[in-house]
Subunit: 424 residues, 2 copies
Amino acid sequence: MDMKSFALKGNILYSSTPKELVCIPQGYLICEEGKVEGVYEILPERFSTIHCIDYQDSLIIPGLIDLHTHAPQYAIRSLGMDMELLKWLEYNTFPEEAKYSDPEYARKAYSIFAQDMKKSATTRACIFGTIHVEGTGILMDLLEETGLICKVGKVNMNRNCPKVLCEESEQSLKDTKVWLETSRIKYKNIKPIITPRFLPSCTEDLLTELSVICRQEELPVQSHLSENLLEIAFVKELFPSTAGYADAYNEYGLFGGSVPTIMAHCIYLTEDEIELTKKNEVFIAHCPDSNMNLSSGIAPIRKYLNHDLKMGLGSDVAAGDSLSIFKMMVETVKVSKLLWRLQDQSMTPLSIEEAFYLGTKGGGKFFGKVGSFEAGYEFDAIVIDDTSLEHPQPLTLKQRLERVIYLSDDRNLVGKFVAGNRII
Amino acid sequence: MDMKSFALKGNILYSSTPKELVCIPQGYLICEEGKVEGVYEILPERFSTIHCIDYQDSLIIPGLIDLHTHAPQYAIRSLGMDMELLKWLEYNTFPEEAKYSDPEYARKAYSIFAQDMKKSATTRACIFGTIHVEGTGILMDLLEETGLICKVGKVNMNRNCPKVLCEESEQSLKDTKVWLETSRIKYKNIKPIITPRFLPSCTEDLLTELSVICRQEELPVQSHLSENLLEIAFVKELFPSTAGYADAYNEYGLFGGSVPTIMAHCIYLTEDEIELTKKNEVFIAHCPDSNMNLSSGIAPIRKYLNHDLKMGLGSDVAAGDSLSIFKMMVETVKVSKLLWRLQDQSMTPLSIEEAFYLGTKGGGKFFGKVGSFEAGYEFDAIVIDDTSLEHPQPLTLKQRLERVIYLSDDRNLVGKFVAGNRII
């Protein structure tokens, strides 16, 4: 659909704040030049001739945002998850990622990932590739075809990994520059993001040089922070002179400030790290599914919300077993309940409204004005037909959204718009 | 399909013990008179003329067993789950269950439940109805039509509940007898089970009389035990003279021994209660989804396995949000990892094999020889076509089963047999 202006009619729901869900039954959502012009209960006279798609009784909500996932690991999701992070990387992940040196395997595997991403409720994602320039290019090509808007990273890693994935610093930087040269200009919707794997995999000089690239080329960065207790101890060993995990990233210029940054997990942040995360406006990608599967723990999201940290949700495939951000919303609520019950009764469990906010407007902020239907937001919308979720009683719109979050799957997705372009 | 003997061909997988998964690629599973005759790598000569359904590359596994769920709550699954047990019963559950005094509503709601149960991978279930005799009869009628084998209970409760659901003891017993009279003889596959809601809802005299009925009519019993800390405190208040929650059930003759018993949850059992549970051969229905949704906690399943307790899985809709026992297997593993991480590092997380065992052979034992493909077991089998779960690499049968457990849905179920009768 190449129309510049159009309207969607249906039951419109979106977050204005973490606690507030706006519900407009049988409303009109107007798109102008890829942006939300407004939401109306009655179609204003000035739009009387606009092309209007009537989705009848379906729900229209903002596209979901996945702040953290690994495309090459999609092939091993739900397999062999009886290990913690470092062993899991060694035995499952690195052997799989090594396969992406073969462009044929990369194309085969990434095609499945890209198609499943397209069929999901996600409209935007931040995605790790592998170290391989060609393979990562194939991933970006395939994602561009889907119409999704993504930031994709060629991974950098030069220590503590198998030889076949271990880059020399110089080659890593050279490859990164080659990759950036093409990928900065080749795509409309897919943009590069600098991607040092995590501190244990990167030497100080590599981190420093990547930070220079971020600044020179005005690129964002994505990595992992404070996911697992053994990992944190390892970082302390590797970076003895820094105050902690976040401080080390900060010291090498890869922790927010002028470099927009996403850090996945953040389960065990100290009070100082929380302050630094806030000050530098670093985004936390909360990945509850992954954090259960790898026995990592539960991130104290209530505390982070109280500190008003920037935050969204991540599927973190393949430590997470699903691409569904709806599922991540459900698990955000569930693990927050267990944290309250098992560890700290000051941490009130999250509500479903708060989880919905995190998976839409919370994560969307990393992409600018994304994840809501307020005027001026980019027009990312999905349409859910929930009639297959039968029920015997009348339901409010909020209740229907709750059921969609818990119970829907790709069969219920009947429309998907990214920055005003219809892709389903 | 009314054949008394037939064979299924495909990739056959089943549990022999909690740790051992038997995998037979392209094997033959023989049914004779509703029971498993055997599993063979090559079809024995004596079966050369048997009718054989060739499921090609699909997986054939035992039907899943749901030891605990509430049919009337299916309508409110995934709604309003921001409360703990006692409040949730008061605000969500009791108002919904009250609606089942209306046979028309009961038929409408239970039809949805029965159809979704039929489409699921579950072949047998133990199910709570409501207090209503007519409504519970409608549920049993509808379940009988599905071909599933179920034990269904008219609920008994005579205190601490809204007036409209609160029975007089005498009427409760009279209604139970009326209900039993019909339901004991009316059905082929659906059998009654005595169902005192839980201790807070039942007076001592009602419990005692129900125990008499169990013994006179040789009926099993299902209820709840040790789900929530406030509930446990309430039970202590209500039954001050007994040593604890399990002891109270035991005192009133409703805790195993000659009365086959399922107790849902069992999160906070004391060492004495564990011993009693073992001695009396009480089945535990582990309900991890419910225990997260209602912030109840995490049952120490590793400890119970070490004690060799009888145990299976329960969906516990609507505190659980899904009927899928595959999902309960996944969550069994996930919450066991969080218990290990957050509370007790002696509790090794469960493996997927152990969770699969609990959802098949573990729970199946409550129904007799059910939940495995060893010779003499009842012929409950499901067939899963996993081709839609695309992957770029070769996978072993065990890996394919892992993926099915984590990723499949009703679309992947292409065959379902209950005691030798094909229902899908």
